[in-house]
């Protein structure tokens, strides 16, 4: 067993020390802004028209875990893309690391572990905001961190695979514009997917964020998820595993030509 992935983790953490203040601040500000605008602003209108669709809950309470899962997705996709592109092409830390005893697998394991820790940080801050907004009690807010982190990892690994496959960052912009943003809007984050036309509703079931939202909402609110928990979890774990395997293959092609 090699400890080299830990060294990669240490390197990522060293880089993070350069930016941690701004990073933590934006990780806090982001949920505050969303919950204020959507939860309180929009929610006050929604709540005038009580609907069984939200299980008798305030819109803010119903929305908040969905946003937590969506934040996991966006953070995971972000951490799995631009930092990888920087390491491969912009700053070229990865090719430099390849001249040390570190292997491609060590590198990938270290990177994904670091992304996992970053996701825990981001989702924990979000969970804190949930409590501040009285959208969940502390115990449930903490429990909701796990599915949100899993959602993030399920996006981070495939994004890392994609990023190490493409040659430049135009592909990344496309993925965010035509992949991440529609998922964010139509995966049950802002409204139940039953509100969608049947065809789109079926499509929503197939998207990974839907499973993340269902799990996170079930954890935060103590309600039933659409499918059994193990099915949602399996979907996300399989996505992560496929992504990690492809990332290893693509990174090897790039870094061991």
């Amino acid at each position: 067993m090699t400890t080299l992935p830990l060294r990669i983790f240490e390197g990522q953490a060293l880089n993070y020390t350069q930016v941690w203040r701004a990073s933590v601040f934006s990780n806090f500000l982001n949920p505050v802004l969303y919950l204020t605008a959507m939860g309180i602003g929009l929610g006050s209108l929604v709540d005038r028209n009580p609907s069984a669709e939200f299980g008798g809950l305030d819109y803010l309470v119903w929305l908040a875990p969905g946003l937590l899962a969506a934040t996991g997705m966006q953070s995971g996709a972000g951490e799995g893309s631009f930092p990888i592109m920087a390491g491969l092409k912009w700053i070229k830390t990865f090719p430099a690391i390849m001249n040390t005893p570190v292997s491609v697998t060590d590198l990938l394991v270290g990177l994904l572990s670091w992304i996992g820790v970053r996701l825990i940080m981001i989702c924990t801050i979000f969970a804190g905001v949930l409590v501040i907004f009285d959208a969940a009690d502390i115990g449930r807010a903490l429990l909701a961190i796990f599915p949100a982190v899993l959602t993030g990892l399920a996006f981070a690994a495939p994004m890392a695979a994609f990023t190490s496959w493409i040659e430049d960052d135009t592909g990344l912009t496309m993925v965010f514009r035509f992949g991440i943003v529609p998922l964010f809007l139509f995966s049950g984050t802002f409204f139940p997917i039953e509100q969608l036309p049947d065809l789109l509703e079926g499509l929503a079931y197939a998207t990974p964020l839907f499973h993340g939202v269902e799990l996170t909402r079930a954890a935060a609110l103590g309600i039933e998820s659409a499918l059994p928990v193990w099915q949602h979890v399996t979907y996300l774990v399989v996505l992560f595993a496929i992504g990690a395997r492809l990332a290893q293959r693509n990174l090897t092609k790039k870094l061991r030509p």
Binding site: T3, L4, R7, I8, E10, G11, L14, N15, Q18, I91, K92, T93, P95, A96, I97, M98, N99, T100, P101, V102, S103, L255, R256, P257
Partner: protein
């Protein structure tokens, strides 16, 4: 006693339909400075990456420290110091942190790294820059930092890919001085370069490469003796008159190269040749007498010049 650190037989590297390295043989001994001299695209960097165990070989055999780079890549890399063609420093980190984290990738303990960092900063003349961000360093400083980084694991063999390309003359001389020190400490160095002066200054032995093949091998002096004459007379004629001048030069030198802008006469005594040119009534715009260099060897062997 000779101990071979790197041995290659029929070493080949192909990328899809491009053959970058085409069946080369060489042996590199402990304690020597070995050079790969050739123009861009000759296959030098591909050889370096294969020796560095970061790029698998396509065919032939290659051993480094007697080990197989494919099976024992981790072990080989732990004993190598690599100065890549591009610095690949972490520009957002401080000078010191670049050395520190690189040492960690070799699993060195913090204490050991911190001791070595002081020595390496002194070696690289970067003591005053330890807390500067790399992005604020000059090109020469970044190059020296890259060399310092390659030494963090006290390597047995140091690979330098185009160590001074892109640097101004003063920065190059500082760098050569540092590399000379490593040589005097008994380090084994492998250098690729397309600068003949660099190869002449630093290398005990070198191979001349062209289009993936080795076209000559030896010490700089022996290569010049074998493939060129002692001296060169470079003549430049007024525009449009080189053609007619060539007729009058006929038979003057044992070997003659005609370039677009000048004529090179390879002779044993260039001063005497210059006198003969005047005696034949030729008026050169400029005449330079110099010793033969590896550039002339390369021109002789390939018909092209090193830097195009």
């Amino acid at each position: 006693m000779n101990e071979s650190l790197v041995t290659a037989r029929g070493l080949t590297k192909r990328f899809d339909d491009l053959t970058a390295v085409d069946g080369v043989d060489f042996d590199i001994q402990r304690g020597e400075v070995f050079g790969f001299l050739g123009p861009n695209g000759a296959g030098k960097s591909s050889i370096m990456r294969m020796i560095g165990a970061t790029s698998p070989i396509t065919a032939g055999t290659l051993t480094v420290f007697g080990l197989d780079p494919y099976a024992d890549g981790r072990e080989i890399r732990s004993r190598l110091g690599v100065v890549p063609q591009e610095n690949m420093l972490d520009e957002e980190l401080r000078v010191r942190d670049n050395l520190y984290i690189y040492g960690r990738y070799f699993s060195l303990p913090r204490k050991v790294i911190n001791e070595r960092i002081e020595d390496l900063l002194a070696f690289a003349h970067l003591e005053d820059k330890r807390t500067a961000k790399v992005e604020h360093l000059s090109g020469g400083m970044k190059r020296r930092l890259t060399i310092a980084r390659a030494l963090i694991n006290e390597p047995e063999l140091i690979l330098l890919d185009e160590p001074t390309t892109g640097l101004d003359p003063q920065a190059r001389h500082i760098l050569w001085d540092r590399l000379y020190r490593l040589k005097q400490q008994g380090s084994t160095l492998i250098i690729t370069t397309h600068y003949m002066d660099e190869a002449e200054q630093l290398c005990d032995r070198l191979v001349v490469m062209d289009q993936g093949r080795i076209v000559a091998e030896g010490s700089p002096r022996s290569l010049i003796e074998e493939h060129s004459h002692r001296e060169v007379l470079e003549l430049r004629f007024p525009v449009g008159t080189q053609e007619s001048a060539l007729l009058k030069l006929d038979g003057l030198a044992p070997r003659q190269e005609t370039l677009a802008d000048r004529v090179l006469l390879y002779v044993d005594d260039a001063d005497r040749a210059l006198a003969e040119v005047s005696a034949r009534g030729l008026q050169a715009e400029s005449a330079v007498v110099r010793r033969s260099t590896l550039e002339d060897v390369f021109l002789r062997l390939t018909g092209r010049s090193l830097v195009e």
